[in-house]
């Protein structure tokens, strides 16, 4: 396996880690208006207050890692999706400061709750649409974006945006099933069931749409012999989706969340199958955009040393704040 492939997997891992970890933070933000003002909202927020910052750092690794490992992809995708990226960044500004501000200013807590929720929704939508814009293809001429202004705004990208919003809501609500008890938990269960149905429907719609986007994507999924290798992905996704709904209905505690993670994992795997070996379809493969070997090796040393430590202390931080919020919560 060459270094470029290793780096493609590292970036994919960072993106996956970001999507699932900040996904449940953003999902809680998206669902925030449905929670009762007061204890329920406070607990929902406190369930992520100690970890959201670490979760968001994976976004910086995804962006910074792309810059370092595939600089050309970074230099093409960001101008192509400029309005989406700016919207996402500003959404994350509101979402991030709301964690602190809402406690410092009870008189305007409603406003910061709205900022928390609106910022989360905008960021999630923009992330999904950026993914859509990437999958539908980006025009590149002479190492630069050559498309026009609103290439990123199509029915397909909107569908991807909605799918991401629904998926994050699913992660957020299943996280809350795990972290809350009593009425808050019951409320989270109701939300999780609806979010699960929406996520499955939208995932299916995006997958079918993908196949119509271009013949290469279709060939990847539908022609022999590939179909024998890739068919397990949709089959397993379906099985996981069904057992997740079952777990929510049976009022399981942490199982719905873990199955939602698995659902995202297979969604990501499907994405990999669709895109491979392109980092910016339809023109740039991972090898076209890759940094030189010296950069790859230097960073690989860093990743090899730090990643086990990062995963270790991140897991420790989650362990410290384990259990239901409010039972033995944060006080």
């Amino acid at each position: 396996m060459d270094l470029t492939v290793i780096w493609a997997f590292i970036i994919a891992f960072a993106v996956f880690a970001y999507v699932v970890m900040d996904g449940f933070d953003l999902g809680i933000g998206i669902l925030f208006p449905t929670f009762e003002v007061g204890r329920e909202r406070d607990r929902a927020m406190n369930s992520i207050a100690p970890v959201w910052d670490g979760n968001e750092t994976w976004l910086v690794l995804g962006g910074g890692g792309l810059f370092a490992a595939f600089p050309l992809a970074y230099a093409v995708v960001l101008p192509a999706t400029y309005p989406l990226i700016i919207a996402m960044l500003l959404g994350l500004v509101f979402r991030g400061v709301a964690f602190e501000y809402r406690w410092r200013d009870p008189a305007h807590r409603r406003f910061w709750d709205a900022a928390f929720s609106g910022g989360s929704l905008v960021a999630a939508m923009a992330q999904g649409m950026t993914l859509g814009a990437l999958l539908q293809g980006i025009d590149v001429v002479d190492r630069a974006y050559a498309g026009s202004w609103f290439d990123w705004l199509t029915p397909y990208t909107l569908l991807c945006g909605l799918g991401t919003v629904a998926g994050y809501a699913l992660l957020g609500s299943t996280w809350l099933i795990w972290k809350l008890d009593g009425e808050g938990q019951a409320h989270a269960r109701k939300l999780a069931l609806r979010a699960a149905l929406a996520t499955i429907a939208l995932m299916g719609a995006v997958s079918l749409y993908n196949i119509t986007l271009n013949s290469e994507y279709a060939a990847r999924w539908l022609s022999a012999p590939e179909i024998y290798f890739v068919a397990p992905v949709p089959v397993l996704t379906g099985i996981i989706a069904l057992s997740m709904i079952g777990a929510i209905r049976k009022e399981r505690n942490s199982k719905p969340f873990w199955l939602a993670l698995a659902l995202f994992f297979f969604g990501m795997a499907g994405l990999g199958v669709t895109m491979w070996p392109y980092v910016v379809p339809p023109g740039l493969t991972i090898w076209d955009a890759a940094a030189p070997e010296r950069s790859q090796i230097f960073m690989l040393v860093g990743v090899a040393i730090t990643m086990p430590l990062i995963i270790g202390y991140t897991a420790w931080a989650y362990w410290v704040f384990r259990g239901k919020v409010g039972d033995e919560g944060y006080h």
Partner: protein, 480 residues
Amino acid sequence: MFEIFDALLLARIQFAFTVSFHFFFPAFSIGLASYLMVLEGLWLKTGNQLYLDLFKYWIKIFAIAFAMGVVSGIVMSYQFGTNWSVFSDVAGPVIGPLMAYEVLTAFFLEAGFLGVMLFGMNKVGKKLHFFATCMVAFGTFVSAFWILSVNSWMQTPTGFEIAANGQFLPGPSWWDIVFNPSFPYRLVHTVMAAYLTTAFVVGGVGAWHLLKDKANLHARKMFSMAMWMAAIVTPLQIFAGDMHGLNTLEHQPAKVMAMEGHFESHPDGAPLILFGIPDSEERTVHYAIEIPKLSSLILKHDWNAPLDGLDTIPDDEEPPVGMVFWSFRIMVGIGFAMLGIGLWSLYGRFRKRLYDMPWLHRAAVLMAPSGFIAVLAGWITTEVGRQPYVIYGLLRTADAASPLDAPAVAASLLAFILVYFTVFGIGVWYILRLMAKPPHTGELGAKRGDSGPIRTAGITPGPTQNPGHAETLPTQKEDV
């Protein structure tokens, strides 16, 4: 209103605006994280409740400043790509890895331990909590290390090769890239600036409360600690700044010429222009007040050493003189004012009247935000001074931007201005409101939510002292 600007200028304004705003927060949180580490360490060592109170007082402020730093920092990490895509493409192989190291070794460390630092004292115990605080403080320093290495490489690029497609590629040694010639000087100068910025904020807050109640022991302690920093670090900082200047003279002489306002070469001893109005059109400094030959003495350690002026630099390689000239003087002026405060406090300490000098306290209040202004002025000096290049001598700023149209950049710039002034303006207001309350025994920490005021022996903080917790239920446990 934006038609008159081109996309390049707008992109430059946007980067300058967002990075300047962002810089305020780490400049404060680097120093404050270390201060919190010192306070918690002293508390563990001495068992003195006073230090724990101060720790809890400042950690609330730290939490807000840190959140603002995080969200404004994420903007920076994407803006290289959104607005400077050509730069990202050609410089990515060299500076991308350094920034990836910043994420891996600093951002995760800070973020991973921040939750425990803010909310976890009861959960993990004192020693592990102190360890978490140390990790956050260490993380802020590591972050400064990497990002200043990147910036320094752009100022004094070394250790690279240029590929056929125009990309900068790393040479055989990463050491040469990371430890490029201006890096050690910039690192020392910037990190000390961050410590001084924090020290003057802490000193100003302490002085403010001393002016109201000079018997307040908490205010006394923080004022005294801050004044030690002012007295000891300011002279070191001035020395480090001088060394940094000499390094700049060696590698970026045009920047120093602009700082000094030297349009003409001086073959036998250049004067030090204290003040004046530089005029790039007429190539002169109007109303200059100058000390003959002093500039040569400072820069060359010889009264009569010849010093080149901007007349030796081609016009299209010359930085904007006025901005560099003024921002440099603002930075140096503040540096000497800080030194004055430090010496004044030593005098007060010597006379055993440190807490009984209202004029010193008033001056310290006035100087509380001075570090931020100095940091920004210094940043402008070094960044504008390396124009018209983004990678010094090799890649012009004008050639580095993304292929974006002016209306798109204008719209994003407007959005950033509106959002930053509102959101961060409010955040600063919350910080000032916390600072306006006197520190007291039994401070609450960053705790929030459906847990109430702490019950410590003797003192029950009332709702007015803890508005964030006013409507909540009391609990027995204590937390940070």
